[in-house]
């Protein structure tokens, strides 16, 4: 798993042929060496801090996840049930590799870890997410983030 050949044929076909936005630009942002980068995670797993408002459907906005969140307080409210959740249940780093980032920062491999990370709900139409993604870019810059790891499910 998961090469498409490992999935049920109808699911594989749907995923492979999912309509994607056709972008006209080809942005390519460069930056300093890794040891000087400040890194944030942006997930599309519908992650939410326990007690915060979960994603209810194909919501286009995002939730903030502070770097200080405890592993026991991160829940997955993604609407889809057709992906594995047992990996995330055992170890949040499978989806949200915050411990790994903190280790890389301690070792000096990356510069630092962002103060806040974010999650969208990946089943949402990307076009509807765009204004929120633009807003998020501003928040990331305000935190001096210059590298984002995008983590799907």
């Amino acid at each position: 798993m998961t090469r498409l050949t490992d999935l049920a044929p109808d699911q594989a076909k749907r995923l492979a042929e999912l309509e994607c936005p056709d972008f006209e630009t080809r942005p390519w942002v460069t930056g300093p060496v890794l040891s000087e980068r400040r890194v944030a995670i942006v997930s599309s797993a519908g992650l939410v801090v326990r007690g915060a408002d979960p994603f209810r459907g194909r919501d286009p906005d995002y939730r903030a996840i502070p770097s200080t969140v405890a592993a026991g307080d991160l829940l997955c409210s993604h609407i889809s049930i057709n992906f594995d959740r047992t990996g995330f249940q055992e170890d949040w780093n499978v989806v949200f590799p915050l411990d790994r980032l903190n280790e890389l920062a301690s070792e000096g491999t990356i510069g630092s870890v962002a103060a806040t990370h974010y999650s969208f709900m990946g089943a949402t139409d990307p076009i509807q997410m765009e204004p929120y993604a633009r807003e998020l870019a501003g928040r990331l810059k305000a935190d001096s983030v210059d590298a984002v790891v995008l983590s799907p499910v």
Partner: protein, 241 residues
Amino acid sequence: MSALGHYLEEDGIATVAIALIRPQAENTRPPRALWVPFELGRPFGPPSDVAFQKRVLLSALGMLVEGGGPTRIIDFPDDDPRAQPDLTWKPPFVSAAVGGGDVEALAVGLRAEVLSLQDAHQRWMARHGRSTVGLSGLSIAACAQYVADWLTGKAPPSPRDGFSAPLILRFAVDDLKAYCLEAAGETGEPSSRQLGDWLWNQTATGEALHALRQLLLAHADERLRLIVANFMVPGARLRTG
């Protein structure tokens, strides 16, 4: 995910995406994507494997300082070792009362099973230090009761302000599934398929959810029908005929 990368990069922030579905990354053409041959839901691979996860993360981060743009997809070479079954794993129990019962019996079985899994779930919590149960905001016994009430035709109102009854039903089902799967994983290193086979084929909870889905597919509330049709039993676990 690839689209988000495009938006953020247009606004000046360098991104690298993990890609689980390679054709999607090929179609969207994000600036940088690392395709990984892992199961959906596991972008960084095996749980509790620090070294493997770090290799995935470093492979992705490395793309941020490599050339090859403005669109680059590379493939991670290794499979997830935890995708293999743990042949020594045993589920916490095998329910003797699964299948064939009426809805009242299924409701009783569901509530009893949740109670019987308490110790296993406590051991899971002790082993992993976390639980992902909690979307509904209800206790797990209350989740079982709420689902049992729907199963036996009571159509209970939502117990939580600001959440519709169909939404709370969805979250209660999510919590029940998480609770059972966590309890079942309290020992060993079972694969997701082993855990799913157990939940959907060998438990009163799985049987109750199959029955609930079938029952509510005929409900008058369109939103409820939509939720039970699509967001309760995974497509690969649906029973036909």
